[in-house]
Structures are given as structure tokens and as C-alpha cells.
């Protein structure tokens, strides 16, 4: 890369990092209880709100955005398909089923819901992976996508059954809010539950980000370049799924981020995953903090984050696709 291009990308990364920092700080002082910086020193309630509610929530929003966007960018490369998102292997619906199962049959205790959603998220991926071997149609990648669709549909049906069985007064509201996705009520404990797995997944993907490019090539070319496809694909899919399941267990099903943010990153940084994956992390964190800010401030009652990401994400995605650059036409 020549120096001008390097400088251009370095400037863009610096701007993204600065915007993330700014949005993060603004988020701490934004909400129904209005605060300014001095309140942190003088106002005990303000201090409590920032340290015990908003900081954990903003950090969780950043982690959520990073995990979904980095996983989305990686999976789009791993499946050679720019329309893939982290739900492709059934992980979102599997996690949703797990949470619904816990709410109905285990306990409403948050750690139980989180563990159950991680377990079922991973189970969905394992099922999709196993099922793909039984499909006798298309190449490996297509078989995985098809199996993912089937598993998603099965778990989605399972969630529907849970909704029918749920107590309409006690369980259904909680279930519905979880399925729509959101960060209301997120506290430090939730953040710390999700952090190790989500961060582990994100870091693993950041480390192998250049190798992820090899998965976008034809399989025979990638093999000829010394790539152990099963190992690399297995590693990046596992890391993506673990990161996604970890944040989904805390925030519920949040759509669009994993699909839209990588496209945005490619518009700004080209196709190379050396830049796309870290840029997706920064953009995903920034946008999720902004969307969560909107979710908790624009109406008297909180709007589920998943609703906000859909409302903003869908039109933004169309806008991105209508502009030149990025992926191939087909």
C-alpha cells in the first residue's frame, strides 16, 4: 500500500476511534436523569447512575455492536456471501429459543437465561454443521447456509411454541422484550458474563483477520495457497458464533448490525479484512451506543434496541447498497 493510501486509512481509523470515544462519553451523560460532568464529583445519585447503570450499559452496547459487526464481517467472508449475518448458522434463533426455554421452564434468574441461550446458540450451530454433512446438494458453503436456514426455522418454530405456552401476564412480556432485543436492565454482572466469551471471539477474529481473506477465494485456490480450509473456517465460525451467542445472551436478538456495519466498513476501507474487521468493530460499537441512546431517550418508555436497529438499519442498508464500491454485483 502506498503512503498516501496508508495515511488515508490511518486518518479514517483515528476519526472512527475519536467518534467512538466521544459517543461513549456523551452516552454516559445522556438519559432521562440529565447530568453534566461536574455532577460526577458532587451528585451522589448522578455518580451512582453513571457508574452503576450507564457505564455498564454503554460498555455492553459497545461490546454488543463489536461482536455482531466483527462476526458479520467475518462470516460474510467465510461464506463468500455479503448478505450473511451472524444469525446465518441459526445462532440467533437458537439463543432466542434457549432464553425462552429458560424463562418458561428453568428460572427468570438472568444468569440461567444467559447460560441457556449460549448453550442453545452453540447447539444450533453444531446441529447446522452436522446437518450440512447430510445435505447432498451444492458445495460445502452452500450446504452450511442451507442447514443454517433449516435450523433457524426449527428454533424459530420452537420460540413460537414457547410464546403460545408462556403465561401472558408474567412470562410473555419478558419473553417478547428479550426477543425484540434490548439493553434495559443490563448491569455490570451481565456485562461481565458476556465479556470473556465475546472479547475472546472478537480478539481471535482480529488476530486472523488477514487469513479470513483467503476464505473469500475459490476453495481450490485457497487450498493451493496452503490454507487448511476446515481448520480456518472452523476457527472463524466458532469464534463468531461464541461472540454472537455471548452478547445475544445478554441483549436478546439484535438484527441488522451484523449485516449493515461490515458493508459500511467496506465503503470506507475497501475489501481487505485487515481493515474491514477492525473498522467493523469501531463502527459497530459506535452505532450500537447511538442506537441504544435513541432507544432509551426518545420516548417515555424504552423502545427495544432490536426495533431501533431495524428501523435505522434497513433504510441505511439500502442507502449503502445504492452507492458505488464494495462487493461484486454477483
Amino acid at each position: 500500500m502506498d503512503e498516501v493510501t496508508s495515511l488515508k486509512y490511518a486518518t479514517r481509523f483515528s476519526i472512527l476511534a475519536a467518534v467512538l470515544g466521544l459517543v461513549f462519553v456523551i452516552s454516559l451523560f445522556t438519559g432521562r436523569y440529565s447530568l453534566c460532568f461536574q455532577d460526577l464529583l458532587s451528585d451522589d445519585l448522578g455518580k451512582y447512575i453513571v457508574w452503576n447503570i450507564r457505564l455498564s450499559r454503554t460498555l455492553t452496547a459497545a461490546l454488543l455492536g463489536m461482536a455482531l459487526s466483527v462476526s458479520g464481517a467475518t462470516l460474510q467472508s467465510a461464506f463468500k456471501n455479503p448478505l450473511v449475518d451472524p444469525g446465518i448458522m441459526g445462532v440467533s434463533q437458537g439463543a432466542a429459543f434457549g432464553a425462552a426455554f429458560a424463562i418458561l421452564f428453568l428460572s427468570n434468574y438472568p444468569p440461567t437465561i444467559e447460560i441457556s441461550s449460549i448453550v442453545f446458540g452453540l447447539l444450533a450451530v453444531f446441529t447446522a454443521y452436522t446437518m450440512s454433512s447430510a445435505i447432498k446438494y451444492g458445495e460445502r458453503v452452500l450446504r452450511l447456509v442451507l442447514a443454517g436456514i433449516v435450523v433457524s426455522a426449527l428454533f424459530s418454530g420452537g420460540v413460537g411454541v414457547m410464546e403460545c405456552l408462556a403465561d401472558p401476564l408474567k412470562q410473555l412480556p419478558e419473553l417478547t422484550f428479550w426477543l425484540l432485543g434490548g439493553l434495559s436492565g443490563v448491569v455490570w454482572r451481565d456485562f461481565l458474563y458476556a465479556l470473556p466469551l465475546a472479547l475472546g471471539g472478537i480478539l481471535a477474529l482480529l488476530i486472523v483477520r488477514w487469513r479470513v481473506n483467503l476464505l473469500t477465494l475459490k476453495d481450490d485456490v485457497a487450498l493451493s495457497l496452503g490454507t487448511d480450509l476446515s481448520k480456518l473456517r472452523g476457527l472463524v465460525i466458532t469464534a463468531s458464533v461464541v461472540a454472537t451467542a455471548a452478547v445475544t445472551s445478554v441483549a436478546g436478538v439484535i438484527g441488522w448490525m451484523g449485516l449493515m456495519v461490515p458493508h459500511m466498513a467496506r465503503k470506507m476501507f475497501g475489501i481487505d479484512n485487515r481493515r474491514v474487521i477492525p473498522a467493523s468493530a469501531l463502527l459497530g460499537a459506535t452505532l450500537t451506543i447511538i442506537f441504544d441512546g435513541i432507544a432509551r431517550t426518545v420516548s417515555p418508555g424504552e423502545i427495544p434496541l432490536g426495533v431501533v436497529t431495524s428501523l435505522f438499519g434497513a433504510p441505511l442498508f439500502v442507502f449503502l447498497l445504492s452507492r458505488k464500491g464494495g462487493e461484486t454485483d454477483g
Partner: protein
């Protein structure tokens, strides 16, 4: 220089009723260009993929420098053999330099990123090929000929001893064909063992030191172009009349005009 030998290789695709390769034995001479010539469906691409260990034959062995190819790890093999497929539909449009850097993968650790040194190497390759002006262009915005040269340039970044190419000049105009063939010949001249498949006997005659004719999964002839590319032999293989003339001592083939007589009808 790297030598490749194939011994009695039999290959059948899963769920197929007959073998695509029927006990093929072959030797690719070191530092020479070998053309795999044959009609559609004769087994050329399958043979190349067997050489590359992408397909595992049911019988027979491929030897690389005297050692069974199965003894090589995928990583080690990629340092020795490079591959250019017939078509490489990219899902994402990398710039030329980003794509060529992927050719450095065999020489980098699993967790490493390409360094300035790797980028310098790519710049040198692009300069040698007269493609430096394309380095920051997206591959999908290139012309057909340029697109064909990019994967060949990627193999140079790989620094292999053997280069396998599947119909490298398919769908190219004359100018681009000449350019691609020139690069391939240059690679053989620089000591690399080159093997390319083609439907065109003239391409084989122009740049190959050795021509291997494959038909119906068997090798039916092998030798210098002047020995292999003959009128009667080509008629047997392709089932159509041809004229073979010598240009600068090399056999050149054209379709015989009686294939297109006025009495011909669509029926």
C-alpha cells in the same frame, strides 16, 4: 527446479459411473513448459487437480521431487506448486495489490500479517509484468486480459517451483492471449516447471517444450510439439479435418476448409 511424476493414477468423481482418469502415468520435465492438450471432458482439469492434491485419486501416486505428494502438508505443497484455475469468480473485489498479497500466504505464519517486505515483493512483480499502474485498481474493474494476468502474477508472489494453469487463455483476444502466453513461457524460461491445459494446439506448439495429449481419461500421445501435433492424429482426437503447416519450424493448425463447404446444412 521441481520434478513431478504421475504413476498409474485412476480417478472417479463420487456418484459417477466411469473413471475420468484411467491409469494415467506422466512426467513433467523440470524447468520446461508442458501443454496438456485434449478435447472437452477429456480429464485435463481433473489431472491438474490431482497433481495439486485437491482431488485424491482412488489408485496411483503423484510424486513431487520423488516423494509421494500425500507426504507433503498442504502448507509445504503450497510453497512448491501454484495453481491458476480456469475462472476465479471473486465474491469481493480486492485491489490488485491486496489480491497478490494473498499469494504470500504460504510464506507467512498463521497469525502473521503481510509486511512491507511482502508489499515490496508484490510491487517488483507488478513492475516486471508491466502492471504497476493497476496495483490499486479493483480486480473487477480490469479488462479480461488484465484479469487473467492477475492470478498468474499471484503465483509469482507465491514463489513456487511448479506452476499449474487450467486453460489460462480461455476467452481472451489475440493480444491478451499473446501477453498471457508470453508470461507463461517466461516462467518456464526462468526455471519453473509449468503445466497448462489448453484446447488450442497452436498455443501448445508456440510455447510448450512438451505436449501431452489426453483423451477419454488416457494419455494418448506425448512428446515434442512437432512429433505430436500432426494432421492425422488431431483428426483422430477431435474428429474434424485440420491442416497442419509449419511456421518457423513449429506446427500450426487450422481447421480444414472442407468442414465448411457450401453443401453443409444445419441438419
Amino acid at each position: 527446479m521441481v520434478k513431478i511424476c504421475v504413476e498409474k493414477v485412476r480417478y472417479r468423481y463420487p456418484h459417477r459411473e466411469c473413471d475420468v482418469l484411467k491409469g494415467v502415468s506422466l512426467e513433467l520435465p523440470e524447468g520446461k513448459a508442458t501443454a496438456l492438450l485434449g478435447p472437452n471432458g477429456s480429464g485435463k482439469t481433473t489431472l491438474l487437480k490431482v497433481l495439486l492434491k485437491i482431488l485424491a485419486p482412488q489408485e496411483g501416486t503423484v510424486y513431487v521431487d520423488g516423494e509421494d505428494v500425500n507426504e507433503f502438508s498442504r502448507d509445504d505443497l503450497s510453497k512448491l506448486i501454484a495453481w491458476v484455475p480456469q475462472e476465479e469468480a471473486l465474491s469481493f473485489s480486492y485491489t490488485v495489490i491486496e489480491y497478490l498479497l494473498l499469494g504470500r500466504a504460504p510464506h507467512l505464519g498463521f497469525f502473521s500479517l503481510p509486511t512491507k517486505k511482502d508489499e515490496t515483493k508484490i510491487i517488483e512483480i507488478l513492475s516486471e509484468l508491466g502492471m504497476l499502474h493497476l496495483s490499486h485498481r479493483e480486480i473487477l474493474s480490469l479488462s479480461g486480459g488484465e484479469k487473467r494476468l492477475v492470478p498468474i502474477a499471484r503465483t509469482l508472489a507465491q514463489e513456487p517451483g511448479v506452476l499449474l494453469l487450467d486453460e489460462p487463455t480461455a476467452h481472451l483476444d489475440l493480444g491478451n492471449k499473446a501477453k498471457v502466453l508470453g508470461v507463461i513461457k517466461g516462467m518456464a524460461n526462468s526455471g519453473k516447471t509449468v503445466c497448462f491445459s489448453t484446447h488450442d494446439p497452436n498455443e501448445a506448439s508456440l510455447i510448450a517444450d512438451n505436449v501431452v495429449v489426453i483423451n477419454g481419461g488416457d494419455i494418448v500421445s506425448c512428446g515434442a510439439p512437432i512429433e505430436v501435433i500432426t494432421k492425422d492424429f488431431l483428426k483422430t482426437i477431435y474428429g474434424t479435418g485440420v491442416t497442419v503447416i509449419k511456421v518457423h519450424g513449429k506446427p500450426m493448425v487450422e481447421l480444414a476448409s472442407d468442414n465448411f463447404s457450401k453443401t453443409n446444412r444445419y441438419t
